[in-house]
């Protein structure tokens, strides 16, 4: 369906939708959430889709970061939130204080491949094993014609350009997921526990996904990691998984999420996953960003809006919209089936 821009004078609450959408457009009011900025592009698509179906409704999403999102969700200032990391025990407790015992809904609403991207004259694609990637990012491998790289790329014509690693300077979910990948796939080389902060000192870094991409584009011989939809014309690394090299793709990223096990011992609608980084045929470096909501809200209207919005977000249609707008990997049916009942059950309480 076509997006529908608001005109200058249109007040969001009075604007009428002409588009013959198949969803019932009965909801109205304003719903506000916030959190991970990685979801922003996808969130724009979801909000637009939902608002077109419900012209009387407005959904806002403050891209204040996952930390802000989790905090805001915990103290009730956001009705829903996005977070690049699952709630930890403490946060879960805070959230349950808001939502009620077992009333937290959490599921990987946004899954996106993280590309290892580089800027090297004349080279578009390279194969790298997890160990090689780890060594490059640790600064152990310093030139592009290093044996370890050459070994995996017999056909490539590798220059002796120095490698400049560009990492995220801000604390970020992308970093955490990338570190987690290196830690689990190349644990011998990469020994630091994953956190949102890059552990190697003295390298180039930049703020935000657009920052690292811009910096990588600005320098010759740079390499970075970034949300795959953002890497523009940078070359990409095909990552070694189970003896094969896999190029990033939304489908391969969706596979890894679909095939990884659900975290055990969580409450019914908390669907978090333990990513397995070496499943053959999948692309193992993914950013998994969670959507958070409650099953009960104090306010009827809010409950209706969250229910409608999350329903759309998790629907096939919503996931496809995000895939189109942000290059994300659609939710697997397994996960959708697991969380939809939770969303359906959202009510006043």
């Amino acid at each position: 369906s076509d997006p529908e821009p608001a005109d200058a004078t249109g007040d969001e609450t009075t604007e009428a939708s002409e588009s013959g959408d198949d969803m019932e457009g009965g909801l109205s009011g304003t719903l506000s959430g916030g959190g991970a900025s990685s979801q922003e592009a996808a969130m724009n698509a979801w909000r637009a889709g939902f608002q077109q179906a419900n012209p009387e409704a407005t959904v806002n999403y403050d891209p204040v970061g996952s930390g802000g999102g989790r905090t805001g969700f915990g103290d009730g200032s956001y009705a829903f939130a996005g977070s690049d990391a699952a709630l930890d025990d403490e946060e879960l407790a805070a959230a349950e204080a808001q939502c009620g015992e077992g009333g937290v809904i959490e599921f990987p609403g946004y899954v996106s491949p993280v590309a290892v991207a580089f800027n090297l004259e004349g080279v578009d694609s390279l194969n790298m094993s997890p160990e090689t990637i780890a060594n490059v990012f640790l600064g152990e491998i310093t030139t592009w014609d290093d044996e370890a790289i050459a070994a995996d790329n017999p056909d490539a014509d590798l220059p002796s350009t120095a490698i400049t690693v560009v990492h995220r300077s801000d604390e970020s979910g992308t970093t955490e997921n990338f570190e987690d990948y290196l830690y689990s796939a190349a644990g011998d080389v990469w020994t630091t526990e994953p956190s949102g902060v890059w552990p190697v000192d003295g390298q180039e870094s930049a703020q935000g996904t657009s920052g690292v991409v811009g910096a990588a584009q600005a320098g010759e011989g740079t390499i970075t990691y970034a949300d795959a939809s953002q890497i523009a014309d940078l070359g990409t690394v095909a990552v070694g998984v189970g003896g094969d090299f896999v190029e990033y793709s939304a489908e391969a990223a969706a596979e890894v999420v679909a095939q990884s096990p659900r975290t055990e011992g969580t409450s019914e609608y908390v669907y978090t996953i333990e990513l397995e980084r070496d499943i053959e045929g999948t692309y193992p470096i993914v950013l998994v960003s969670y959507s958070l909501a409650c099953t009960t809200y104090a306010d009827e209207n809010t409950a209706e809006l969250v229910k409608g919005f999350l329903g759309y977000l998790a629907s096939e249609e919503g996931q496809q919209a995000a895939a189109d707008a942000a290059g994300s990997a659609p939710l697997s049916d397994t996960i959708r089936q697991a969380v939809l009942p939770g969303i359906e059950s959202i009510s006043v309480g």
């Binding site: 997006p3 529908e4 821009p5 608001a6 005109d7 200058a8 249109g10 007040d11 969001e12 604007e15 304003t30 506000s32 916030g34 900025s37 922003e40 592009a41 724009n44 698509a45 909000r47 637009a48 608002q51 077109q52 407005t58 806002n60 999403y61 403050d62 891209p63 204040v64 802000g68 805001g72 103290d75 009730g76 200032s77 956001y78 935000g208 996904t209 657009s210 991409v213 949300d227 939809s229 953002q230 523009a232 189109d324 707008a325 942000a326 290059g327």
Partner: protein, 319 residues
């Protein structure tokens, strides 16, 4: 009368000619050197200015259209090249105006207090703390405003006035410091002339001191406005963001131009599967960012122009 022959030689007395022609060459050189340096300083400042403005115009001009200026981004996402920044223009104008309305009276009155009344511990501490205030990072001002309003309205509050309060924290010290300097420059003679006419102190301040320094005050206020009009971080945590138009600073989220520009820049490229087309432009977000930046610069430029007119209108007439 004097003997005229004395001065008959065409060049006049050579001694005198020498006396009048020579000034220590080293002094001349210093004078010339400093003149050149001062011209260079100015030229130096023009380079980034022209470069910056050229960059912004070159990047942003194509995006500017009537639609861009009169529509919001509601329901626009991905590579959709429609939509505009009307909501952000409105937000910027309203929030900055509110911040100005809060800070300028407080700032100028405080400057008046410091210059005209200030004595003793209160004046000293105000001076002292205004100095300290200039170093508050903008994000801290935002967090402060947020926690202040959260105390009263709960943590879910996101309203325009909150952003205005955060900006005021940043603006006030700039207003106070620059206005203080301007007021100090008003000669005491003028105050005395006014007192001697039986004009009460407050009227002297309002009608003589402020009037005489109005040009400087305008500059100070414009500086302060410029200081905050481009703020991003404090607005994100206080006002939040929205794609829709909201004229009410006391209810609901608002968008502002710098936040809009920054968010668009952060979003990066949109995936356009079939390449760029009429309905999907991959780098539309960055185009939006530059377009918003251009509009923001144009707005502040217009403001400066108005300020300049005010300055000229009120400038002391010296001849």
């Amino acid at each position: 009368m004097s003997v005229a022959t004395e001065s008959s030689s065409p060049g006049g007395s050579p001694d005198t000619a020498r006396l009048l022609a020579t000034v220590d060459p080293a002094r001349r050189r210093t004078d010339r050197t400093m003149q050149v340096l001062i011209y260079i300083a100015f030229a130096l400042a023009m380079i980034p200015l022209i470069w910056l403005i050229w960059t912004v115009v070159a990047q942003g001009a194509d995006r500017i259209s009537i639609d861009f200026l009169t529509q919001s981004m509601r329901n626009i996402f991905g590579g959709d090249p429609r939509g505009g920044i009307y909501h952000a223009i409105a937000g910027t104008v309203i929030i900055t105006l509110l911040a100005t309305v809060i800070s300028v009276p407080i700032g100028i009155l405080t400057a008046i207090y410091l210059v005209e009344y200030g004595k003793g511990w209160l004046a000293r501490s105000v001076t002292f703390f205004v100095d300290v205030m200039t170093g508050i990072p903008s994000i801290v001002a935002g967090l402060f405003a947020f926690s202040l309003f959260a105390l009263i309205f709960g943590p879910s509050v996101r309203i325009g006035i909150m952003g205005a309060v955060a900006l005021s924290v940043l603006m006030i010290p700039v207003v106070v410091r620059s206005c203080e300097e301007m007021l100090k420059l008003v000669p005491n003679e003028l105050r005395e002339a006014s007192y001697a006419l039986g004009v009460p102190k407050w009227l002297t301040i309002v009608k003589v001191v402020l009037r005489t320094s109005v040009a400087g005050l305008t500059t100070g206020v414009l500086l302060a406005v410029a200081r905050v009009v481009g703020e991003t971080a404090p607005l994100l945590v206080t006002v939040g963001v929205t794609d829709s138009i909201n004229f009410n600073p006391f209810e609901g989220r608002m968008m502002t131009l710098p936040v809009f520009a920054y968010r668009q820049y952060s979003q990066g490229n949109a995936p356009c599967p079939g390449g760029d087309s009429a309905t999907c432009v991959a780098d539309i977000a960055s185009q939006n960012a530059w377009g918003a930046a251009l509009v923001l610069i144009a707005m502040v430029l217009a403001l400066n122009l108005i300020g300049r007119l005010i300055t000229r209108w009120f400038a002391p007439k010296l001849g």
